[in-house]
Amino acid sequence: MLINYLPILIYMLIAVGLLGVIVLLSELLGKKTHTVQKDIPYECGMDPIGDARSRYTVRFYIIAMFFIVFDIEAIFLYPWGVVFKPLGWFGLVEMGVFIAILAVGLAYVWGKGALEWE
């Protein structure tokens, strides 16, 4: 039962291990010289303007909010897909209502221009 998830575990271990190896190798093999010129912040060859840790615009936050909402909508599609055949037309109508209500939301967001970046 649980052994079925062994490939996922191995996959995760390889991903983490690869990261560790890359960081470790560059730490071991890389030259560590520090000069005044080398240690200044690098910004495409010009003198840096302002602080790198500037505040992000709220637009990112809105997009993330919409992402969560529609991600949860998509989550409900997975179990629906599993029992699609036994449910038949009933299930199709059911999911149709669900999607339609959320489509109203999408239309609202679109109409309000919240998806526009400017």
Partner: protein, 165 residues
Amino acid sequence: MQIIFFILAGVALVTGGLVVFQRHPLRSALWLIVNFFAVAGIYLLAHAEFIAAIQVIVYAGAIMVLFLFVIMLLNLREPEAEAKFMHLGQKVGGIILAVFTVLLLIYGVMQVVLPPGKAAPPGLGNTESIARLLFTDYLLPFEVTSVLLLVAIVGAVVLAKSKLK
């Protein structure tokens, strides 16, 4: 089996502590991801594969993105300096409150008696059992969920609208 649970529970507890004790909010967020994965593993142990997948997709995926944007939306300067002076009363009061809360939680958890749940129909996976119940017995809550999500969409737009214009 039990060993795996204790490892996962240990990871969840330790990373949960690390989330709280980091000075930098971004590091807290990164530890929280590890915590989410450990909890997903515990769900797997409880044969709740669907919940485990959701834990990774929604929490470690979508909600984490939101957390990161919120952290970056807030000012990300140097971590705030530790409060140099703390009143003795604050410390003692905090400790008493923490101990009391822990005792209350332990008492509450001990009181709970879970009724034996209905066994899943044989031959059906966890996702399939959930799906059957969700789309038949719990039809109305499922449809109401879409209204809830709609409210969340409208709320997000209204809240951010003043900033957008």
